[in-house]
């Protein structure tokens, strides 16, 4: 954000705004700091002084034990594959469909678009039970593809909505120019639009990718094998665990930490692309 726009406030009160914002942000972040902190504490410290925020006895033990007990590498891989596959499907099918809808001057396709967008309001619970049987019938239970298809079916309406809004804001001249040069529609899609979609794709990855990575409901119903478990599912079986001995606390915090860190890092990497995309597309929908 390079603009110096102020919303009309004078520069003096910018300090005031910053003070308030810092306070609010600190308050908001506190629970996270609590976890970060306790993930590196010796177990006894967690119990004895759970609310002391500065680790007087730091250790990597909790994190390492959680890592092993959760079988982290495999579970991470599962989450990664489901994430990648779902995003790939959403981005490719979604942008293609949005392109088709935006480019066609067809009443039919517009009607299809309206129906598709309406589906954003439908709750997943409605499809939940029959989906189990569908997946079983297609032999897609406990599979990366099956889980990814469920996510795709669920989130494509929203993704198409985002892409369509964005594509509609692209000046028609661009496309006309391409046509004059003899580009077929698909060529036009590939060479002109795809490069333009970078920013909105970043938006899609954050708005839908993050919920997919963190989702609990779908894995609960599509995955029954431990080797196929995703991070949220694995964490759930951990924390709901009826641990009686003091050793469980460190596993709880350690595992919470290692489950949350990857996505935080990825966000920091992708976040620059986000606002640009949202500005262009989402609001005009």
């Amino acid at each position: 954000m390079r603009s110096k726009r102020l919303l009309g406030f004078r520069r003096r009160s910018r300090v005031g705004v910053n003070v308030v914002m810092v306070l609010i942000v600190l308050l908001l972040i506190m629970p996270l700091w609590y976890v970060l902190n306790n993930a590196f504490k010796v177990e006894k410290e967690i119990l004895r002084r759970p609310l002391v925020l500065l680790p007087s006895a730091a250790t990597l033990d909790s994190v390492i034990r959680s890592f092993k007990a959760m079988k982290y590498p495999r579970v991470f891989m599962n989450s990664a594959i489901v994430f990648a596959l779902s995003c790939a499907l959403l981005i490719s099918a979604g942008s293609l469909a949005a392109f088709g809808i935006a480019m066609a001057k067809s009443k039919l396709l517009n009607a299809v678009y309206v129906v598709l967008v309406a589906m954003i309001t439908l709750p997943f619970q409605l499809a939940m039970v029959p989906l189990i049987f569908l997946l079983k019938g297609l032999r897609l239970m406990n599979s990366y593809l099956g889980t990814s298809l469920v996510y795709s079916g669920w989130f494509l309406p929203f993704v198409v909505f985002l892409y369509t809004g964005f594509i509609r804001t692209v000046p028609k001249e661009l496309e006309e120019a391409g046509r004059v040069d003899g580009c077929g529609l698909f060529r036009s899609y590939r060479s002109i639009y795809i490069p333009l979609l970078k920013s909105i794709t970043g938006t899609v990855l954050i708005l839908r990718g993050v919920p997919i990575w963190n989702d609990l409901l779908v894995p609960i119903i599509t995955i029954s094998r431990a080797t196929m478990s995703t991070l949220p599912l694995k964490l759930y079986s951990f924390i709901a665990s009826s641990g009686s001995s003091a050793t469980r606390w460190n596993l709880v915090f350690g595992s919470t930490f290692i489950v949350s860190v990857p996505i935080l890092l990825v966000f920091l990497f992708l976040q620059r692309y986000f606002v640009r995309g949202v500005v262009a597309g989402a609001i005009k929908g």
Partner: protein, 299 residues
Amino acid sequence: MGLAGLSQVQRRQLVCFLFTLPALAIVFVFFLFPMLRALLFSFTNWDGIARTYRWIGLKNFQTVVSDSSFKQIVFNTLYLTIIYVPVLNVVALLLAVGVYNAGKAGNVYKAMLFFPNLLSMTVIGLIWNIIYRYNGLFNQFLKIVGLKVLVQDWLGQVNTVLPAMSVTIIWFAVGYYLLIYLAGLNTVPVEIYESAEVEGVSGWQKLVRITIPLIAPSITINAVLSTIGIVTLFDLPFVLTRGGPGFKSQTIAMHVYAYAFQQLRTSYALALAVILGAFAILITALQLRFLRRREEVIL
């Protein structure tokens, strides 16, 4: 023009249609079709396992609606919708204004406010369960700032469990909606504010009279999205309170799961899911009508 021109248009439309096919196919097979089946089966007595079933009309719906917990879960869902959506949006908007005005540091605030949104609901449920415990962070904090009289069992009392849960949800979601509001704020031309400043309009009035009307589309989107989000909320109450105490924090979405996997009553689960779907559509439609009309008036 002529024949050549016509078929080119038709060819174009055909190609466009083909482009939409993969997405439509996936959505139909993995979303729409199961939903239609759910709708169909909600009128039968299929229990999820047996091979045969009978049509029984509205009996499932009757049973579900007359269940003693039904009123409570509908109330809970409504409560969350009516309280959470406005509060969330007001908070998100104010924070967006704050970030907007904070200058360069705004980017940092924006990112950090979004952090909670990056966590899995299991993580959030766990953290906040620990915070809300009687000996947890929140009560400790109250004691430190001298508000010991407010110390209570936040998640175990009937009148505090829903507000407490709402705070958690807002904590989680605010960053998300803030980003959308921020984008909306960025579309407002600076000149408008500058000329308002010249005319001596106060800060508050600028917000209410100028900003809000001009970002109406963002408000609409956020209202709809946050409503859908809260209506289908499952993960958080499931992990935070397990719907308790009793059914005081049970949402409709949770109850569908309960019917299906705890009470092993597939047909009731489907009926309730249909009710949930109808509810979601109704609320969204109402919202859109209300908000779109205001948008048109303003713009």
